[in-house]
C-alpha cells in the first residue's frame, strides 16, 4: 500500500467534472463543519469557493491563530551542491545546463553556517542536486555534523532516499524532511522528468512515507504549482498530507505552496496559478488540515507575502539565496530566481509590524543528558 493507491483512485475522479458540481451553499456548509473530509476539500478547491475567499479567510485566520498563536517560524535554505544527474525541464540544476558546478567544502559549510547563524536563524534546510557521486549520504552527514554546531534543527531537501538512508541521516542529526512531488499528475510528471532517477514517479511519491517511518519529526510535502491544473494538484497534496497525518500521527506533516519561478532554461508552465488561486489553495489547506504547518517561500514577492501571513501560513523562509554558498561565496548559479530578497531582520520587522512574533528557534534536536 501507500499513497499511490489513493492517488490512483483520486485520478479516476479528479479529471472528471467534479469541480463544477459544487455551489456556494456547499462551501458555506463546509465552513460550518468541524471535521472536513475529502468532499469538503474538493468543495474548498472548487470554482464555487473562489467566490467565498473572504469567508474562508476568516475561518482560516481564526484556526491559525487558535492553533499556532501570533507567531511565524523562520528558516533559511542552504544549498550545499548543485551537481545533478537528472534532466528536469523546469530546473537550473538540470544536467543539460553547462555552468561551473559547485559543492561546498567542510570549511565553506562552516563559513556559510556562521553567516546564517549570525542572523539569528536556528532552523536550516539543506539542499543538494541529485548526485550520489558528488553529494552522497556520507557527504550530507559530514555537513550535518558541522551544521549542528550552529543550528537547533536541520532539515533536508535532497533526492529521495531509502528508509535506511533516512534513518542514517536522522542518527546524524537531521530532524526534518522536505520533498516535493513536483507534479502529482503522473503523465505530466513523466513528460517533465526526461532523464535520471527522478523519472521514477512512485519512488518520489513514497519517499515522504519512508521519511515518516524513519522517524523524522517533520515531513513537508508539496506540488510545484503551475505544472498541471492547480485544483487537482492541491487536492492530491492535501490528501497526501492527510494520508501521512492519519498513518503517522507522531510526525508533524507540513505542506508548501511553491509556484513556478523563472530559471536558467526556457520552460514555461502551462497552468498559470494566479494570486487568487494561490490564496484559495492556502485557505483550503488550512481548513482541511488545521494543525499542519504551511510554508511560504521567497518565490513569492514581498508585497504578496506580507498579505499571506494572515491567511494560514506558519513558516516562512527569510534571507534566502538559491545558489550554492550564496551567503558567503560568489559566482553561483541560482536554482531559480527568488522574489522576496529581504533579509531576516527585514522580514522580522515586517512580522512585528503585523503583530506577529518571528520565531527563530522552535525546537532543539535532543542530545543525551
Amino acid at each position: 500500500m501507500g499513497f499511490y493507491e489513493t492517488a490512483r483512485r483520486l485520478s479516476e475522479q479528479a479529471d472528471s467534472e467534479i469541480w463544477e458540481k459544487y455551489t456556494k451553499d456547499d462551501v458555506m456548509r463546509t465552513l460550518r463543519k468541524e471535521q472536513l473530509d475529502e468532499r469538503d476539500l474538493q468543495i474548498l478547491l472548487s470554482p464555487a469557493a473562489a467566490d467565498c475567499l473572504e469567508e474562508m479567510a476568516r475561518c482560516a485566520l481564526r484556526l491559525t491563530r487558535t492553533h499556532f498563536g501570533h507567531v511565524m517560524q523562520l528558516f533559511t535554505p542552504m544549498y550545499l551542491a548543485d551537481f545533478c544527474i537528472n534532466h528536469c525541464t523546469y530546473c537550473s540544476f538540470s544536467s543539460i545546463y553547462d555552468f561551473p558546478r559547485k559543492k561546498l567544502s567542510p570549511e565553506e559549510v562552516r563559513q556559510e553556517a556562521k553567516a546564517i547563524a549570525a542572523t539569528g536563524i536556528r532552523h536550516i534546510l539543506i539542499l543538494t542536486g541529485e548526485s550520489r557521486k558528488e553529494s552522497p549520504v556520507s557527504y550530507i552527514k559530514e555537513c550535518v555534523k558541522i551544521l549542528r554546531e550552529y543550528f537547533s534543527s536541520v532539515s533536508i531537501e535532497v533526492n529521495p532516499l531509502s528508509e535506511d538512508e533516512y534513518k542514517e541521516l536522522k542518527e546524524a542529526g537531521v530532524d526534518g524532511l522536505t520533498l516535493y512531488q513536483e507534479v502529482y499528475h503522473e503523465e505530466t510528471y513523466r513528460k517533465l522528468h526526461i532523464k535520471g532517477p527522478k523519472k521514477i514517479y512512485r519512488n518520489r511519491m513514497d519517499a515522504p512515507e519512508r521519511g515518516c517511518r524513519a522517524g523524522f519529526r517533520t515531513v513537508n510535502i508539496g506540488a510545484l504549482l503551475g505544472m498541471y491544473d492547480w485544483r487537482r494538484e492541491a487536492l492530491f497534496t492535501a490528501m497526501h498530507a492527510r494520508y501521512l497525518q492519519d498513518k503517522y500521527p507522531e510526525c508533524e506533516i507540513g505542506v508548501s505552496v511553491p509556484r513556478f519561478r523563472p530559471f536558467l532554461g526556457e520552460y514555461n508552465p502551462e497552468h498559470i496559478v494566479t494570486d487568487r488561486a494561490l490564496v484559495q489553495i492556502i485557505l483550503a489547506y488550512r481548513l482541511f488540515l488545521p494543525r499542519a504547518g504551511i510554508t511560504l517561500s521567497t518565490r513569492e514577492p514581498s508585497a504578496l507575502r506580507d498579505r499571506l501571513i494572515h491567511l494560514g501560513v506558519t513558516k516562512m523562509s527569510a534571507g534566502v539565496s538559491t545558489e550554492v554558498g550564496g551567503h558567503t561565496l560568489e559566482g553561483g548559479t541560482p536554482q531559480f530566481e527568488i522574489s522576496d530578497g529581504r533579509s531576516v531582520q527585514e522580514i522580522s520587522r515586517m512580522l512585528r509590524a503585523n503583530s506577529l512574533q518571528p520565531v527563530y528557534k522552535d525546537w532543539d534536536i535532543l542530545e543525551s543528558v
Binding site: H67, G69, V71, Q245, P249, K361, D364, L366
Partner: protein, 254 residues
C-alpha cells in the same frame, strides 16, 4: 482567609497558572503576568534560545516559579531528557511533562507520561504531568510521585471549555493530589466552573494569548479563578430536579 495551594512544598496564593506561547511579542509576558496575579508560568524549553537577543526567559519576572514543559517530546525518554536539560540550564526542578504522539489533535500519551513521571519524580523533580483525564492513569501518576496532575478540559489551544467535565469530576473526587485543569479553557466562566468543581487550579495560555487584549483577559481569569475557588470553599447549594420550598409545607409535622 488563607487558602494556599501547596505544590512541591511551595505555598501558592494564586491558583491560576499561565503560559508563554502564542503571544504577538514576548514583551507582553510581564504585563500579562502582572495582570493575572499568577505565580507559576510554563515555558516550552524547545523555544528557549539562550543565544538569542529575545530569549523568552528574560521576559519572565524573577518572582515567578518557572514550570518548564517538555513540549515537543514524543516519548518518555525525550521528556526526561528535556526535563534534565531544563534543570541543567538553571530553570529549577519543576517540570510539566507533555508527551504528545498525536500531531493531529495534540492529545497526550498517558502511558509514556506515566513512565516519564516515574523517572523524574525519583530524581527529585516536582512533576506535573499533563494528561488525558483517565482515572487509572492519574492514580498511576500519583503512585509514581507526581506533585499534581494536569488533565485536559479539551484539546490544547481549542478554547472549547470543559468537554471532559465528567471525567474531571471523578479525578477531583478520587485523587489525593491537586488536580489542575490544563488545556481547553477558553472563557473565564469555564475557569470559574473548574474551580467550583473543586479543581485545585487551572493552567491556560491560548485564551489569554489570543485575546484582543491579553492583559485584560488575564485579569478576567484572575478574578474568575478566585471567584470559583471561593464558591467551592463556600459550598455550592444542592441542585434539585424539582422546586424545593424554603419553608417546607410539611414542617408543622416535626
Amino acid at each position: 482567609m488563607s487558602d494556599p495551594l501547596i505544590i512541591g512544598g511551595q505555598a501558592l496564593s494564586s491558583r491560576l497558572f499561565i503560559g508563554t506561547g502564542k503571544y504577538s511579542r514576548n514583551t507582553l509576558i510581564p504585563e500579562v503576568v502582572e495582570a493575572s496575579g499568577s505565580q507559576v508560568i510554563t515555558v516550552a524549553l524547545r523555544r528557549v534560545d539562550p543565544d538569542s537577543n529575545d530569549n523568552i526567559i528574560s521576559h519572565i519576572p524573577d518572582r515567578m516559579i518557572l514550570l518548564p514543559n517538555t513540549s515537543g517530546a514524543r516519548t518518555a525518554e525525550e521528556a526526561v531528557r528535556i526535563a534534565r536539560l531544563a534543570k541543567a540550564s538553571g530553570l529549577g526542578n519543576w517540570v510539566k511533562i507533555e508527551v504528545i504522539n498525536d500531531q493531529k489533535y495534540l492529545l497526550p500519551d498517558n502511558a509514556e507520561t506515566i513512565r516519564a513521571t516515574e523517572i523524574l519524580a525519583s530524581e527529585g523533580f516536582v512533576v506535573l504531568p499533563y494528561m488525558s483525564p483517565d482515572l487509572s492513569a492519574a492514580l498511576r501518576m500519583q503512585e509514581a510521585g507526581a506533585a499534581a496532575v494536569m488533565p485536559l478540559g479539551s484539546p490544547i489551544g481549542t478554547n472549547r471549555g470543559l468537554r471532559t467535565r465528567e471525567l474531571l469530576r471523578i479525578l477531583i473526587a478520587e485523587l489525593d493530589l491537586p488536580v489542575i485543569v490544563d488545556a481547553g479553557i477558553g472563557r473565564p466562566s469555564e475557569a470559574a466552573e473548574a474551580m467550583e468543581m473543586g479543581a485545585a487550579g487551572v493552567l491556560l495560555n491560548t485564551a489569554i494569548a489570543t485575546a484582543r487584549n491579553p492583559q485584560l483577559m488575564a485579569s478576567a481569569f484572575r478574578d474568575a479563578v478566585a471567584a470559583g475557588r471561593k464558591a467551592y470553599l463556600a459550598g455550592l447549594g444542592p441542585v434539585e430536579e424539582t422546586a424545593a420550598a424554603s419553608s417546607p409545607l410539611t414542617g408543622f409535622l416535626d
